[in-house]
Amino acid sequence: MEMEIQTLSRARRLLLLYCSFFRITALVVGGGLAMLPVIEEIFVVKHKLLTREELLDMTALTQTVPGIIAINSAVYIGMKIGGVPGALAAAAGAVTPPFTVILIIASLFPRLDPKNRYLLGVFAGIRACVTGMILVTGCRMFRRTVKSRLECAVVLVFFVLALMKVSPALLILAAVPFGWCYVWWQTRRMSQAEQASDGGTSAGASASVDPSSETHEDGGRGK
């Protein structure tokens, strides 16, 4: 596999990155995770520039760092294969097709206020479909992320604040210090429970709860 990488010159590798991501975003509808099978086919199976494990690690990574998943994948794969120039080439390749296609569409219908009944019907249909898709995605995310009643309550508080027109940007920024406090509190409670179970048997109940919540967390991270 090392041989394969050596045989491609630097310029060829950058060109490959640009063209591959151009093709991926030009053809794949839905974006983000829908790109994954195509990425696997091009970079793992055909050109052998990545291993399956590297791709899996990257998938987890692109979903945790901020930014839209498609561009994250392009940047991380580009970085892995061609360093910083590779990341730039891959990102440029990923941006070009949607940019041109949307520009053409946007200049065709100026402010998007169609009067045609069937066209409106098509838009309404797609909106309803997207509603269903986000609903399912949201439920899956909820099940994967929320592990205790306290976390559920926190999500509800954030949700109600968003409904009360608190800026989403502010909510995300506020979530960061909250996360620090929460993780600090969790680890402290865990170490206390350990001490308690070392000292006597009375704290057995609380100590038996904590390890289980810890394994849940590991399971969540594993996915």
């Binding site: 975003t25 509808v29 901020p66 309803a128 986000i134 399912v136 929320v146 409904l163 979530a175 600090w184």
Partner: protein
């Protein structure tokens, strides 16, 4: 030109705050461009998202390009897409080297824990925005719901009703997504056809 620079920085902000994929952009974009600056109405935003969804390419990028175009034409789209991409490249290039070292530190873990919970809440919020554009004919009137909780008679805004076609398509999509492994392209095209068909009946 100044407005383009502003757009670029706005989208930089969205990119940095966008934990958990393109759908997270929806609450951020509506808060900024529909509620605050009012360059778009909610129904225009809905149509724009529909176009972004069926056009090939990542939904986030498509939406950004479109919103940029509505704001400032060609240079607006350029500023918006670049704004979405540049922070990712900067973060990506600096983080790719160190991410394995930082992955299990307290600061990163805490930040991820907190932002993930906020992301779930904001996706739920995005669902309510979409309910207002598909299952109901207008934004959900939360004031009326609040009045119900206080045992007062709720006042519904004019033209607020349930859209049977939207509800049907949304329900079928949820069932198909849970029970089958149909690709989203098929679901989207099917819903577009169903929407046109139902529009000729209702």
């Amino acid at each position: 030109m100044n407005h383009c620079i502003l757009l670029f920085f706005q989208f930089c902000k969205f990119s940095v705050l966008c934990f958990g994929g393109g759908y997270m952009l929806i609450p951020l974009l509506t808060a900024e461009f529909v509620d605050r600056e009012q360059v778009l109405t909610m129904s225009e935003f809905g149509n724009l998202l529909s176009v972004a969804q069926v056009t090939p390419g990542p939904v986030g990028l498509n939406t950004a390009t479109y919103v940029g175009y509505v704001n400032e034409g060609f240079f607006g789209s350029l500023a918006a897409s670049l704004g979405l991409v540049v922070p990712t490249i900067v973060i990506g290039c600096s983080a790719a080297a160190g991410i394995n070292r930082w992955k299990d530190t307290f600061l990163v873990n805490g930040m991820l824990k907190g932002t993930r919970l906020a992301a779930v809440a904001l996706i739920m919020f995005a669902v309510t925005i979409f309910f207002g554009m598909s299952i109901f004919t207008q934004t959900i009137p939360w004031e009326a719901l609040g009045a119900c909780l206080k045992f007062e008679r709720p006042v519904l805004p004019d033209g607020f009703s349930v859209s049977p076609a939207g509800m049907l398509i949304c329900g079928v999509t949820v069932v198909l997504m849970l029970k089958t492994k149909l690709p989203t392209t098929v679901l989207l095209l099917g819903s577009a056809a169903a929407g046109a068909l139902l529009a000729s009946w209702f």
